[in-house]
C-alpha cells in the first residue's frame, strides 16, 4: 500500500448542525444540513445519519435544493465554491468556483441557472460589508467550472441566513439589515427601501432579525428584536406601504417561515416554542411548546407535511403535521463551555462531556450522534438570565466503565460554594448509569482533579481540591446483599499546599499529586508518601505517567514554561524542556503523549514518546487560541501506517476543542481514501435507506455465518447461503412489474435451491478457483485463511489490522458474487 502521509486537521463529528437552515427533500425522506465542512444527510423517519456530502474545504454556509432538479442540491461554502450534488448517492456533480468566501445562498425557481450569493463587498474585503450577487452558472461538461460573472443585486446586506427571501414566484427579493428592509423587483430592476425608527426612546427594539416572503401573495413577514412580527404589504410604493404587527414572542424573533401554501406562518425564538400563526387570521395561533432550546431556524418540506426546527443546543427537531415531534437529530451539545474534560466512555467508546445544563452527554464520534444524556443534577432547569445553576464540572470513568463519578457545583456570588460528588454504577439491565452514592460537600473548595485508579483489583477514586487535601474514596465492602456505597478512605495533604492535579500510573500502583511546585508520589495500597519531586519554578499544571514501555517516566507541565520528565526508578529528572504546555494528554493504547503548547496566540501540537528525545509529530500553529480540551479516542479499526509521522494515529485518534468550540481531529490521507472508498462501495441497495446501522448489521450477520462455516467445513458451501439468500431477496425486492414471468422464475428459483444440496462439489471447485484468484490479487500476503482465523481469535488489539483486511476481502468477495449472480440472471 502506498501511503501519502499527509496529516490534515478535519472536522469529523460534533460539528454544528444548527448553523444554517436545513433542507428537507421533496419526498420528505431526507434532511440535509450543513455540518462543518460537509453536508450531512439524515433520514427524516429514523433520524439516522445516512451519509454526508464531502468535498468542501471550508465551512459550508448554505444548502438549497436545486429548483430545476429536486434530486440535487447546491451547497456553498466559505472556501469560495458552490457545489452541486446528487444527494441520494452523495455524488459531487459540479463545482463552481466563485472566488470569494460565500456566506449564504438563495435560489428561486424563476431564475433558472442563477444562484444568489452573499459575498463580501469587493472593495472592502476586510470590513463587514456584504452584498448579494447573482451568479450565472455556466453550462459546461467539466467537473470544475469557474463562474466569475457576478452581478450585484443588493448592496449592504446581512450575511446571516434568513436575512433575505424570494417573494412570490421569484418576482422580487427582500432583504433586511439593521433597521432597513429592502425589496428588489427583478422586472423593473428597482428597489424600495423601508426603514424603521430605532424606537429606543419608547423602549422598543425595532431592528430586523429575519424575513420570510409569502409564497402566493405579496406579503413580507419580518421578525424584530423585540419579538414583534410585521407583515408588510403594498411595498411597491414608497409611501403607501403598510404593515400590521403581531406580537407574541418576548425575546427576539430568530426565524420565520411560511408554509409552502402560505396558509401558516411559523416563528421561533428563545422561548423554544414553535408559534404557528394562521395567515389572515393572526389572532388565532397554535403553539408547540417545550422544544428544549431556543429555535434558530425553521424549515418546511416542499409538501408542507414536515417541519424542522434547529435549536441552539445543536439539535434538529422534525415535526410531523404541525403537532407531533417525530424525530430529534441531536448533535454534540456545546453550551457555554466545556467544563468537564473530554472523556472516553470505556464501554460505548463514546465521548463524554457536559451537554445540556446539568446533563452529561454521551456522544458517539464514529456515528456522529448523541447516544444519550445522563441527567446529573436532577433539578429543573429554569431558563433565566443571571440565575446560578448547578453545572457538571468534573466527570470520570473507571477502567471498565462500571463506575462514573461526577462533580457538580454551583457558585453564587458572595455565597458559599455548593459541591456534590455523585457516583453512578452501570446497570447492565437498563444499560445506563444509576446513582449509587451522593456525597454533599466532599471538599471545602473547588475540586481540581478527579481520577479513578486504573488497577483492576480495587475501584478507587481520588479527588484533589483547592482546600489543600486530596481524598481517596473506596467502595465499601459488599457485606449486605445490596450494592455497597462509596466512602472516604484516606485524606492526604502536603504542607498545606494546594493540589492542582493528580495522576495514576498505568497499573494503578502509584499516585502522583501535584502540590503547586512539588510533585508527590504516593502508594495507593498503603497511602505512604514515597517520594517528592520538585523542579521549581512554577506550579505543576498537568501530570502524566508514561505507559507501556515508558511507564517509568512521569511527566509534569508547569506554569512557568517547563515540561519535565522524571525517571521514577532513579527519582531524578530525566529531561526538561522549556515549553508552555497548556494540555498534556496520554494515549491509553500506546506510549505516545500529546502536548499542546500555546505560543503567541496560537497552539502548537507535539506528539512524542517520553523515552525518545525527538517528537514523533509536531504541528505549528494548529489553531488560534489555547487548546484546553483534548482526548485520544481509540479507533475501532486500526490503521496500518508505516510512515513514521502518521504512526501515532494508528491506534487512536486525537480529538481536541479549539477556543471557538470546534471539535477537530487529525486524519491521514489513507484514512480519508478508505472512508471515501467504503462509502462508494457500500452503496449497494438503495431500496432501503442505507444507514450505518444497517450496514453494520448486514456485515456482521454475513461474517457470523461465514465464521460458522469456516469452523465446520472450511471450504464447503461457503457462499451458498448468502448467494441463495441474495437471490431470494432480489426476487422478493424486485417490483412485480419488472420481474420475468413466474414460470421462468420458478424454474430458476427451484434450481437455485437445488444447487445448494446436490452440486456442492462443483460449487466448491468454483469456489476454489475464486479463492485462488483472490490470492493472486493480494500478492505476497500470508494465507488468507490464516488471517481469518486470527481475526476471530484473539482480542482486537492484535488482530485488528488483519481483521480489516479480511473484512475488506470478504466484502469484495460478496461483491463479486453479487455480480456473477446478477449476470447469470441477466444471461438467462
Amino acid at each position: 500500500m502506498v501511503e501519502h502521509a499527509e496529516i490534515r486537521m478535519v472536522h469529523r463529528g460534533g460539528s454544528k448542525i444548527n448553523f444554517r437552515e436545513p433542507v428537507i427533500t421533496n419526498d420528505s425522506r431526507f434532511l440535509l444540513c450543513a455540518a462543518g465542512e460537509s453536508v450531512n444527510v439524515y433520514s427524516t423517519s429514523t433520524e439516522e445519519y445516512v451519509h454526508d456530502l464531502q468535498g468542501h474545504t471550508g465551512l459550508v454556509t448554505g444548502v438549497v435544493l436545486n429548483p430545476s432538479n429536486h434530486l440535487q442540491v447546491y451547497s456553498c461554502s466559505a472556501d469560495g465554491t458552490v457545489r452541486l450534488w446528487d444527494f441520494t448517492d452523495a455524488i459531487l456533480i459540479k463545482t463552481f468556483i466563485i472566488g470569494y468566501p460565500i456566506y449564504s445562498i438563495y435560489v428561486s425557481e424563476k431564475h433558472g441557472g442563477v444562484v444568489f450569493l452573499v459575498v463580501p463587498m469587493a472593495n472592502y474585503k476586510s470590513s463587514e460589508l456584504f452584498q448579494l450577487v447573482a451568479v450565472h452558472l455556466p453550462h459546461s461538461g467539466d467537473q470544475e467550472v469557474e463562474a466569475r460573472e457576478l452581478s450585484a443585486v443588493l448592496c449592504d446586506v446581512s450575511p446571516h441566513a434568513g436575512a433575505a427571501s424570494f417573494g412570490r414566484e421569484g418576482e422580487y427579493i427582500a432583504a433586511v439589515r439593521g433597521l432597513q428592509l429592502e425589496v428588489f423587483f427583478f422586472k423593473k430592476q428597482k428597489s424600495y427601501r423601508f426603514s424603521l425608527k430605532s424606537g429606543k426612546k419608547k423602549g422598543a427594539k425595532n431592528a430586523f432579525t429575519c424575513i420570510s416572503c409569502h409564497p402566493k401573495e405579496d406579503c413580507i413577514a419580518t421578525g424584530h428584536e423585540d419579538g414583534k412580527i410585521r407583515m408588510w404589504r403594498n411595498f411597491n410604493q414608497k409611501k403607501e406601504y403598510t404593515y400590521s404587527t403581531l406580537h407574541w414572542h418576548h425575546g427576539a424573533v430568530n426565524t420565520l417561515c411560511f408554509t409552502p401554501e402560505g396558509t401558516n406562518l411559523l416563528s421561533g425564538g428563545i422561548e423554544s416554542v414553535l408559534v404557528h400563526w394562521h395567515y389572515t387570521q393572526e389572532n388565532q395561533k397554535d403553539f408547540l411548546p417545550r422544544l428544549g432550546a431556543a429555535i434558530t431556524h425553521i424549515a418546511v418540506s416542499p409538501d408542507g407535511s414536515l417541519f424542522s426546527t434547529s435549536h441552539s443546543d445543536n439539535k434538529i427537531t422534525i415535526i410531523q403535521s404541525c403537532v407531533k415531534v417525530s424525530a430529534v437529530i441531536q448533535g454534540l451539545v456545546k453550551g457555554d463551555g466545556v467544563w468537564t474534560n473530554l472523556i472516553i466512555d470505556p464501554r460505548s467508546k463514546a465521548l463524554v462531556l457536559n451537554g445540556k445544563p446539568g446533563h452529561l452527554q454521551f456522544y458517539s464520534l464514529h456515528r456522529d450522534k448523541q447516544l444519550y444524556n445522563l441527567d446529573i443534577v436532577q433539578q429543573e432547569y429554569i431558563h433565566e438570565e443571571g440565575l446560578d445553576q448547578f453545572e457538571v464540572v468534573k466527570a470520570a470513568f473507571d477502567a471498565r466503565g462500571d463506575w462514573l463519578a461526577t462533580v457538580e457545583e454551583r457558585r453564587k456570588k458572595g455565597a458559599e460554594l455548593e459541591i456534590n460528588l455523585k457516583l453512578w454504577a452501570y446497570d447492565e439491565l437498563t444499560q445506563s448509569f444509576v446513582l449509587n452514592t451522593t456525597v454533599t460537600a466532599p471538599h471545602e473548595d473547588q475540586i481540581t482533579a478527579m481520577f479513578f485508579s486504573p488497577s483492576p483489583e480495587t475501584t478507587m477514586l481520588v479527588t484533589t481540591s483547592l482546600d489543600g487535601h486530596f481524598k481517596a474514596w473506596l467502595l465499601a465492602d459488599h457485606s449486605d446483599a445490596n450494592e455497597g456505597f462509596w466512602a472516604c478512605d484516606f485524606v492526604g495533604g502536603y504542607h498545606l499546599l494546594k493540589p492542582g492535579c493528580c495522576s495514576f500510573s498505568a497499573d494503578g500502583s502509584l499516585l502522583s499529586v501535584g502540590f503547586q511546585e512539588v510533585v508527590t508520589v504516593w502508594s495507593p495500597a498503603s497511602w505512604e508518601l514515597l517520594t517528592t519531586l520538585s523542579q521549581p519554578p512554577g506550579a505543576i499544571r498537568d501530570l502524566c505517567f508514561g505507559r507501556l514501555s515508558c511507564s517509568k517516566y512521569l511527566l509534569g507541565a508547569s506554569t512557568k514554561n517547563q515540561l519535565c520528565c522524571w525517571n521514577l526508578l532513579t527519582c531524578s529528572l530525566e529531561w526538561s524542556t522549556p515549553m508552555d504546555v497548556s494540555l498534556l494528554q496520554t494515549d491509553p493504547l500506546s506510549e505516545n503523549m500529546a502536548a499542546f503548547c500555546s505560543q503567541s496566540g496560537s497552539s502548537d501540537l507535539f506528539v512524542f514518546k517520553p523515552s525518545e528525545p525527538r517528537p514523533l509529530y509536531s504541528q505549528k500553529a494548529l489553531c488560534t487560541g489555547k487548546v484546553q480540551h483534548a482526548v485520544f479516542a481509540p479507533r475501532d479499526q486500526m490503521l496500518e501506517s508505516c510512515e513514521e509521522r502518521t504512526q501515532w494515529l494508528n491506534r487512536s485518534q486525537l480529538y481536541f476543542f479549539t477556543q471557538h468550540m470546534d471539535l477537530l481531529t487529525f486524519s491521514t490521507k489513507t484514512e480519508e481514501d478508505r472512508l471515501l472508498a467504503s462509502s462508494k462501495q457500500l452503496m449497494v441497495d438503495d431500496s432501503v435507506a442505507v444507514t450505518p446501522f444497517y450496514l453494520l448489521l448486514g456485515k456482521h450477520r454475513g461474517q457470523q455465518l461465514e465464521k460458522q462455516e469456516a469452523l465446520t467445513n472450511p471450504m464447503a458451501e461457503r457462499t451458498q447461503l448468502p448467494q441463495g439468500s441474495i437471490a431470494i431477496k432480489e426476487l422478493l425486492h424486485t417490483p412485480a412489474h419488472v420481474l420475468p414471468s413466474a414460470s421462468f422464475l420458478c424454474a430458476m428459483f427451484v434450481r437455485s435451491l437445488l444447487i445448494s444440496s446436490s452440486s456442492a462439489r462443483e460449487e466448491k471447485e468454483h469456489e476454489e478457483g475464486e479463492m485462488e484468484r483472490e490470492e493472486e490479487d493480494s500478492e505476497g500476503e500470508a494465507d488468507p485463511r490464516l488471517g481469518e482465523s486470527a481475526a476471530w481469535g484473539p482480542p482486537e488489539e492484535f488482530g485488528a489490522p488483519a481483521l480489516t483486511k479480511a473484512q475488506e476481502r470478504e466484502l469484495r468477495k460478496v461483491k463479486t458474487f453479487d455480480h456473477s449472480w446478477l449476470s447469470s440472471l441477466l444471461d438467462c
Binding site: 409611501k239 404593515y243 404587527t245 418576548h250 389572532n283
Partner: protein
C-alpha cells in the same frame, strides 16, 4: 433676586369631560365634537386644528351623535330630541322631539336631503331637510330591539342598521328590511350577553363593515347577506368605525384605547382585483375607550373617555416631514380659544374660575419674604376661596369676567347675562346682583371690563359689541359697536387698552376690529391674516397691539399709527424660528410687563415665554446649519454659559418649560410685579378619570 414673584396656583381643579361623538365636514374641513356634558366644539382643520367655536352644554341635553348636512350641524341624543345648531350665535337653533324614545344615532344621506335616526323603540325615522327646518317624513319597518348604529349607502337606496345581535339592511324607497345579518356572540362567559353592534359602515360596493361588543370587526356582503371576513381585534368592544373618503381604509376604535386600521389591499401587487380587507396598523394613543373616530384625508382623528382629541397623521400621505406630519394630542381644547375659563383681577389679586355649573372666586396667597431665584417662599396668608356662585337655569356658563378692581363680576349663559357687584372690606365679602339690565343684553359670547371698571363690553351676535356703562347703582346701555364688514361670525377675543381708549375684538373670520371708545366708533381694521388670532393684548403705554395667530405667527400693530410696528416688520422679514413655529399649542394669553415696556409675556398650554424686543431674534436661516441647540437656547442652557459668552447667545425669546407635565391656563402679571400662573398637573386629571378596561400586561 428673581425677576418675578410667581404665584403657582394649583387649586383650580378643572376636569374636562369625555368626548362622545365626532363629525367631520370635508367641505369646510371643520370637525364637530360633542362631549358628555352636551357641549359642542368646532375645530378648523385648515387652520392648525384651531378651536374656533364652543357651543356650551345644557343639563338636559346629551349628545349621542352628530351629523353635518352641508354647513348645518345636527345632533341627536338620549333625551329623544334632534337639535340643529346656530353656529353664528353659538346656540341650538331649535330642537325637535322625535317620539321614538332615546335616539342612538343620526346620519344624513350623501345628497343632504334626508336625515335618518335610530331610536330605542326599534324604528328608523327619516326626516326631510328643509331650508330652515327639518320635517318628519316616515318610518322604516319597525324592528324589535333598539337601533344602535346606522349607515347610509352612498347611493342613498339602502341603510344598514346595527342592532342587538344583528344588522338589518333596509331598502329606503320601500322601507322594508331586505337583509338580516346575524352577529355572533362573544366567546366564553359573554356568550349569554347580547352583542351590541356599536357601529356599521356601508360601502359603495355594498360591503357592510360592522364593529360590535364582542370585539369583532366583520365584513359582510350586503347583497347576499353573507359574512365575508371576521377580524377579532379585541377582547372588549369595538366602539367606533370610520371609513376613509376613497373607501380604501377603515379604522376601528376599541375599548382598549387602540385604533386599528384595516386596508383594502390586493393580495398580489400589480393586480388590483380580488382585494380584501386586511388588518394593518394599530395606533395606541388613548388610555380609555375610543368613542369617536374620523378618518380624514391625511390623518385619523380619535377621541374618547380620556378626553384627549388625538390627530394621528398618516405619514404616507405627506411628501416630506413637515409641521403637519407630527402627532397632535389636543389635551383640553376647552381652554384653547381664550382664557374664558378664568379671569384675574390684577389690582385686587383675585381669581375667578369658571366651571360649567358654577363660578369660584379666590384670593391669592401672600408672602413678605424674599428669596433666591427658584426658592419657594413661605406663605403669610393662604389662598382663600371667597365665593362660590352657582348658576341659575339649565344652560351652562359660557363666559365670565371679573373687573380688574375686583368690584364687578359678570357671567353669561346662552339665554341670559348676570352682573354682580362685589364688595370686599377686610375679610367680609358681599355680593349683590345688579337687578336691572338693559334689554339689549340678553346673551354674550365674550365679556370684558374696561381697565377702570367703568364700562363692560359684551360680544353679541353678528360680531357686534355692546357697551354697558356701570355705575354704583345701575348699569346702562350706551352703544352697540358694529363692524363695517358685516361679518356674522361670533367674536372670540376681546381686549381693552390700559387707558380705556381702545377696544379690540377678533372674530372667527380672522378679522380684528379696533374701536375708539371715546368716539364710540370703529377706528380701524387690522389687516386680515389667514389664520385666526389665538391671543392678543394692547400694550398699556405704547398702545401697540400684539397679536398671536393659530399658526404661531406674531405681529405687533400700532393702533395709533394704524400700521405694523418696525419690530414686527423686522420680525416678519427675518421669519420666526422653526422651533417656535413647530409648537403644537397656540398661544393663549398675551400680557405685558409694566416695569419693562419692552417685554411681552406669552404663554400656551405647556410653556411660558417672555419676548424682549431689545434683543436680536434668533434667525431661522442658520437653522439648517447649526441646528436648534445652536441658536434657540432656553434659559437653562444660557445660565450654564459663561458671562462672556452669554450676551452673544442672548435672544428675544426666553422660554420657560417648567410646565411640561401640567397644563398652563393663565399667566398674568399683577400690578405688584408678581406673576400668577394657574396650572393643572396632567396627572391630577388622569387620576380622576374612571378606570380603563382591565388588560393583562405581559410580565405583570
Amino acid at each position: 433676586m428673581g425677576e418675578f414673584k410667581v404665584h403657582r396656583v394649583r387649586f383650580f381643579d378643572y376636569m374636562p369631560t369625555a368626548i362622545r361623538a365626532m363629525a367631520f365636514n370635508a367641505h369646510t374641513e371643520r370637525l364637530a365634537l360633542a362631549r358628555m356634558d352636551g357641549s359642542v366644539e368646532i375645530f378648523n382643520f385648515t387652520d392648525h386644528y384651531f378651536q374656533e367655536k364652543v357651543i356650551p352644554g345644557k343639563d338636559s341635553r346629551s349628545i349621542e351623535s352628530l351629523c353635518w348636512v352641508g354647513g348645518r350641524l345636527f345632533s341627536a341624543g338620549l333625551n329623544g330630541e334632534i337639535a340643529e345648531y346656530d353656529l353664528e350665535n353659538l346656540r341650538p337653533k331649535y330642537s325637535l322631539e322625535a317620539y321614538g324614545g332615546p335616539i342612538w344615532t343620526i346620519i344624513s344621506n350623501t345628497q343632504g336631503t334626508q336625515l335618518a335616526i335610530g331610536c330605542e323603540d326599534g324604528t328608523v325615522k327619516l326626516f326631510e331637510v328643509l331650508e330652515e327646518h327639518i320635517q318628519f317624513e316616515r318610518n322604516l319597518d319597525r324592528q324589535k330591539g333598539r337601533i344602535i348604529s346606522l349607515s347610509w349607502h352612498p347611493s342613498g337606496t339602502h341603510i344598514a342598521a346595527g342592532m342587538m345581535d344583528m344588522i338589518r339592511v333596509f331598502d329606503v324607497p320601500t322601507g322594508h328590511a331586505v337583509q338580516r345579518l346575524l352577529v355572533d356572540r362573544g366567546f366564553g362567559g359573554s356568550k349569554s350577553r347580547e352583542t351590541v353592534v356599536w357601529s356599521v359602515a356601508f360601502l359603495s360596493d355594498h360591503t357592510v363593515v360592522s364593529g360590535d361588543s364582542a370585539g369583532k370587526v366583520q365584513v359582510w356582503d350586503g347583497h347576499t347577506g353573507t359574512l365575508v371576513k371576521t377580524h377579532l381585534v379585541t377582547k372588549w368592544d369595538v366602539l367606533a368605525l370610520s371609513v376613509s373618503k376613497d373607501e380604501s381604509s377603515v379604522v376601528a376604535g376599541t375599548s382598549e384605547g387602540t385604533v386599528i386600521q384595516f386596508q383594502f389591499i390586493a393580495p398580489t401587487l400589480h393586480q388590483q382585483q380580488d382585494k380584501e380587507w386586511v388588518r394593518t396598523r394599530t395606533f395606541k394613543n388613548h388610555t380609555h375607550d375610543v368613542r369617536a373616530l374620523a378618518e380624514i384625508e391625511t390623518a385619523i382623528v380619535s377621541g374618547g373617555m380620556d378626553t384627549h382629541l388625538v390627530v394621528r397623521p398618516l405619514l404616507e400621505k405627506f411628501d416630506e416631514k413637515s409641521h403637519a406630519s407630527g402627532l397632535r394630542k389636543i389635551h383640553f381644547p376647552h381652554v384653547i380659544a381664550n382664557n374664558i375659563n378664568l379671569s384675574c383681577a390684577k389690582k385686587a389679586g383675585l381669581l375667578l374660575f369658571q366651571f360649567p355649573g358654577q363660578l369660584e372666586l379666590w384670593r391669592l396667597g401672600d408672602s413678605d419674604e424674599h428669596g433666591k431665584p427658584g426658592d419657594r417662599l413661605p406663605l403669610k396668608r393662604k389662598p382663600e376661596k371667597l365665593l362660590l356662585l352657582k348658576r341659575k337655569g339649565e344652560d351652562h356658563i359660557c363666559c365670565s369676567a371679573l373687573s380688574s378692581c375686583g368690584g364687578w363680576l359678570a357671567y353669561s349663559t346662552v339665554s341670559s347675562v348676570r352682573i354682580y357687584r362685589l364688595q370686599t372690606d377686610n375679610n367680609n365679602i358681599s355680593i349683590t346682583k345688579v337687578s336691572k339690565l338693559p334689554k339689549a343684553l340678553h346673551s354674550a359670547h365674550q365679556l370684558c371690563f374696561s381697565s377702570d371698571s367703568s364700562k363692560m363690553f359684551a360680544a353679541s351676535s353678528q360680531s357686534s359689541v355692546l357697551v354697558i356703562a356701570l355705575t354704583q347703582s345701575e348699569c346702562k346701555y350706551v352703544h352697540t359697536l358694529k363692524p363695517k364688514s358685516g361679518s356674522r361670525q361670533p367674536i372670540h377675543l376681546m381686549t381693552t387698552s390700559g387707558d380705556g381708549k381702545w377696544l379690540a375684538a377678533a372674530n372667527s373670520d380672522c378679522e380684528i376690529h379696533v374701536y375708539n371708545l371715546q368716539k364710540l366708533k370703529l377706528h380701524c381694521i387690522v389687516p386680515v391674516y389667514g389664520s385666526c388670532p389665538s391671543a392678543m393684548g394692547i400694550h398699556p403705554t405704547t398702545n401697540n397691539m400684539t397679536v398671536v395667530h393659530a399658526d404661531q405667527q406674531l405681529f405687533e400693530y400700532s393702533i395709533v399709527e394704524k400700521q405694523y410696528t418696525d419690530w414686527s416688520r423686522k420680525l416678519q422679514k427675518q421669519g420666526l424660528h422653526n422651533v417656535w413655529l413647530d409648537r403644537d399649542t397656540p398661544v393663549t394669553h398675551v400680557t405685558f410687563n409694566s416695569k419693562n415696556p419692552n417685554q411681552v409675556v406669552l404663554h400656551d398650554m405647556h410653556m411660558f415665554c417672555i419676548i424682549d424686543q431689545m434683543f436680536i431674534h434668533p434667525c431661522p436661516c442658520h437653522n439648517g446649519l447649526i441646528g436648534f441647540s445652536g441658536l434657540f437656547y432656553n434659559q437653562m442652557t444660557l445660565r450654564s454659559l459663561s458671562e462672556q459668552e452669554r450676551p452673544s447667545h442672548l435672544h428675544a425669546f426666553k422660554i420657560c418649560k417648567t410646565f411640561q407635565v401640567s397644563l398652563l391656563f393663565l399667566a398674568s402679571l399683577l400690578d405688584d410685579q408678581s406673576l400668577v400662573v394657574v396650572e393643572r398637573p396632567l396627572l391630577a386629571i388622569t387620576s380622576q378619570l374612571p378606570a380603563p378596561v382591565r388588560q393583562k400586561k405581559f410580565a405583570t
